[in-house]
């Protein structure tokens, strides 16, 4: 009986999250934002449980997974269970992180303790150690400017095109490629 209630609650939350994503994919920005917001809490819990020995990595990985979900959102099929899709992405990024760490630890002495920016694992969202803002600044101009104007300042594509002298399609492509490049930088950086 109790288990049934828990299942119902999970189903309800999956259903709500799925609806938000489907609305978001159709262009409903507030819904998409709510989806990502709720998703980040879900990812944090999911990854914290699996990264118990590396609590400092959790928030970085939450951010990396959010970026991955956003960049790959076109691979979500509305008839597919959302949890399976999300968890497959989060696990993929988790395994990728562990591989990167294993490779790096072979090459260098781990610097963890010295870097140890005390990030408490029980605060809601600990600070990420990697600053995506800094990585963003390293992107080439044709990707950085569209992201800064469209994604951070909230200008429209048309306004950004006028401001930068780029064509509208170049602005869209710049945002898209820039976010993918950001994911690639995270991969190489860690």
């Amino acid at each position: 009986m109790q288990r049934m209630q828990v299942t119902d609650r999970l189903n309800a939350s999956e259903e709500r999250l799925r609806n938000l994503l489907v609305l978001g994919l159709a262009g409903d920005e507030p819904a998409y934002r709510a989806f990502l917001q709720e998703l980040s809490a879900h990812l944090r819990a999911f990854l914290r449980k699996r990264l118990a020995r590396l609590p400092d990595e959790v928030e970085d990985l939450v951010q990396e997974s959010l970026l991955a979900v956003h960049n790959q959102r076109h691979t979500y099929d509305a008839v597919q269970p959302l949890t399976a899709w999300i968890h497959a992405i989060a696990k993929y990024k988790l395994i990728d992180l562990l591989r990167r760490r294993a490779r790096r630890d072979l090459l260098t002495d781990p610097l963890e303790d010295e870097l140890g920016l005390a990030s408490a694992s029980d605060t809601e969202a600990a600070d990420a150690r990697r600053d995506l803002g800094k990585l963003l600044a390293q992107l080439p101009e044709r990707q950085r400017l569209p992201i800064v104007h469209v994604k951070l300042e909230g200008l429209s594509v048309t306004e950004t095109a006028r401001l930068t002298g780029m064509s509208e399609s170049a602005v869209k492509v710049g945002v898209h490629r820039g976010l993918k490049a950001l994911a690639a930088m995270i991969r190489e950086d860690a």
């Binding site: 790959q72 949890t83 497959a88 990420a128």
Partner: protein, 213 residues
């Protein structure tokens, strides 16, 4: 950047996402890839001289059915492996069915044949070039399918690479059938399959490196 800021950044101006992008990518990839394979086949090999007569033979169509169902099954495998959280499910069965069917047919053909004929049924005239020509024809398809996969999100990279190789090999055998003079089931069931397995092995090796995202 705080996570909340990242969420705001990602959501701002996110726009709409076109549905069915996976289908469109695969249609494009298989289209261009097989066009490349047909071009290679036409320039380097040419269709078999007796094609007009061959298409009257039931065995020609049996061969076509075998390579086509292999291609369809591997397309399903590649397609499912390109998206996170989608399992292979029943695809291995669909993939195994045409292989088992051609092996069964090959066994019957070999059993019915005279002992003296069996060698010819298995080796044909072209066993030593067939797998390599199939592998060669698979190259453009492989490149195109990897492009399609890279635009999606495979999470099991080795398996996805294998599926890309399998699909490209299977499409290559479809194109190769137009050139190939062999029709015996024992030949098809072994050398064609070997040809398909070459790009599959290449895909398995390359997958983790080229498909990472």
């Amino acid at each position: 950047m705080r996570t909340d800021d990242l969420v705001a950044m990602l959501a701002t101006g996110a726009g709409t996402v076109q549905p069915n992008q996976a289908a469109r990518r695969y249609a494009t990839a298989v289209g261009w890839g097989s066009a490349g394979a047909v071009l290679l086949m036409t320039i380097l090999l040419g269709p078999r001289h007796d094609l007009a007569a061959a298409i009257m033979l039931p065995m020609f169509w049996t061969k076509v059915a075998f390579v086509t169902s292999l291609a369809v099954a591997s397309l399903l495998a590649a397609w499912r492996l390109s998206r996170p959280g989608v399992s292979l499910a029943w695809v291995p069965g669909v993939l195994g069915a045409p292989v088992l069917a051609i092996w069964l047919l090959a066994a019957i053909v070999l059993m019915r044949a005279d002992a003296a004929q069996r060698k010819a049924l298995f080796f044909g005239d072209t066993w030593n070039s067939c797998p390599f020509l199939i592998a060669m024809l698979s190259a453009p398809v492989f490149v195109a399918v990897v492009w399609a996969m890279k635009g999606l999100a495979p999470t099991r990279l080795r398996l996805a690479g294998a599926a890309a190789g399998l699909l490209s090999g299977a499409v290559a055998t479809m194109v190769y059938s137009v050139h190939c003079p062999e029709l015996a089931a024992p030949f098809i069931g072994f050398w064609y399959l070997l040809g398909v397995l070459i790009p599959t092995a290449v895909g398995t090796l390359l997958g983790p490196r080229v498909l990472r995202w």
